[in-house]
Symmetry: C2
Subunit: 199 residues, 2 copies
DNA sequence: TGAAAATGCTAACATTTGTTAGCTGATTTT
DNA sequence: AAAATCAGCTAACAAATGTTAGCATTTTCA
C-alpha cells in the first residue's frame, strides 16, 4: 500500500539502492536482511523484487558504479599533461576525499563489502582494484625517477594513501567535525609532507 | 570421532578461536557459519559448544584480547620518560605494524568486525576505541605544542595513522611481499616525513 | 476510457542459521 | 579399577533467510 517515494531524477530502484548502501555500511552486507531493507524503504520484502532481481545485484550496482567513477577519474588525471607526479597524487587524494565526503555510504560499502560479490563479479572487481593500485604506483615511481618523490617503496605508499583516506569513516562518526575542506587540506598535507615539522 | 588437535600451550578453545579468526577475516563474522567453522576445525558443529558458549563469545574473545594488547602498549609508551612526541608516535606505529604482521588475523578481525559485538560488549569496545584514539591525539597535540610536530589537526592525523596501518591487509595479499622490516621502515617514514622529497 | 504496465500485498517455499538434548566412548583423577 | 570429567556424535528445534507465485490495486498512456 505504501508506495516508495521517488525523488525527481531517480527511479525507485535508486531509492532502494541508496537505502541499501546505508544499511550495508552500518551492519555489513551479510548482516543486512531483505526484510530489514524493506522496512527502511517502507514496503514489504517481496515488493523489492519488482525493482531489483536479487540482493546480490544491489551490491553489484553499488560496487561497480563506484569503481567506474574512480577509474574514470584516474584516467583523466593520468592523461593531463604538464602535471608533476606530486600534483597528480594530490589530485587523486583530493578526489578520494571528496568522494568519501559526498558519496560516503556507497564509497564505503564498495571498499569494505566487495568481498561478498560472487563470481564473475568478484574476479572482475579484484582485477579492477589491482589495476587501480598499479596505476597509482606507476605515478609514484615516475615521481621517484624524476626526483620529486622520495625513493620509497611505491606499493607501500599506495597502500598507505588509500587506506588513510578510507579512515574518513571515523571523521563521519566524530562529534566535532571539522570542515570538509580543512579535512582535505590536512590529509593531503600530512600524507605529502608528513607529521614532522621541518626545521 | 576426529579429535581437535591441540598444540602444546594451547587449549582446544584456542584452536577454535584461531580458526575462527581466519574465517572471520576471510568472509566476515556474519557470513561465517558455525558449520563452516566446525568443518575447518575438523569436527561437527555441535561439538564446538563443548568449548565455547556461543558464536558471539568467539568474537568477544578476539576483540578484547587484541584491544587489551594495544591498550597495554600505549600505556607503556606514554609512561616512558625522555621520549619526544615523534618518538612516541613512531613507537606506536611500529607496534601496530608488528602486531599486524604477527597476529594478522586477530588484529584485522578486531578492527573490522567489532561492530558485530552486542551490548554491553559493543558499547565497551566503542568506549575503548575512542579512548585509544584520544590518547594518540594527546601525544600529537603535545608534540605540536613543543614544536616537534606541524600544527595540523590531531584527530585527522590519528585517523590517517591508524587506517594507514590497517592497510597492511593489502600487503598480506600481495604477491611480491617486501620484508616486514622494510615495510615497517617505509610506513613510518612516509607517515612521519611524507612523500615529497625535501629539496 | 480502456488496456497495459507498474507496484504493492499475503502466503508460502526451501535453505540455512545458531543452539540444545541426549547419548557414547575416551581420558583423567582418585 | 571405579568414578568423574571431557569431547565427540546424531538428531532435532525454532527462527531467520532469500526468493517466488498469485493476486489486487494504481498509474501510465494510446
Amino acid at each position: 500500500m505504501a508506495k516508495i517515494k521517488r525523488n525527481r531524477n531517480g527511479t525507485r530502484k535508486d531509492v532502494i539502492i541508496a537505502k541499501a548502501a546505508k544499511l550495508f555500511r552500518e551492519k555489513g552486507f551479510s548482516a543486512t536482511s531483505m526484510r530489514d531493507l524493506a522496512e527502511h524503504v517502507g514496503v514489504e520484502a517481496a515488493s523489492l523484487y519488482n525493482h531489483i532481481s536479487s540482493k546480490a545485484e544491489i551490491l553489484q550496482e553499488i560496487c561497480f558504479k563506484t569503481a567506474n567513477n574512480f577509474m574514470s577519474q584516474i584516467e583523466e588525471v593520468d592523461a593531463t599533461p604538464n602535471k608533476t607526479a606530486i600534483e597528480k597524487i594530490q589530485a587523486i587524494l583530493r578526489f578520494h576525499i571528496k568522494q568519501m565526503l559526498e558519496n560516503y555510504e556507497e564509497v564505503y560499502v564498495s571498499d569494505r563489502e566487495w568481498k561478498h560479490l560472487t563470481d564473475p563479479y568478484l574476479s572482475n572487481m579484484q582485477t579492477q582494484r589491482r589495476a587501480y593500485r598499479q596505476r597509482i604506483a606507476s605515478i609514484i615511481e615516475d615521481g621517484i625517477r624524476k626526483g620529486e618523490i622520495k625513493p620509497i617503496d611505491a606499493p607501500t605508499a599506495v597502500l598507505i594513501m588509500l587506506h588513510a583516506v578510507s579512515g574518513i569513516e571515523s571523521w563521519h562518526r566524530s562529534k566535532k567535525k571539522i570542515a570538509g575542506e580543512v579535512l582535505e587540506d590536512n590529509m593531503v598535507q600530512i600524507l605529502v609532507d608528513g607529521l614532522r615539522k621541518q626545521s
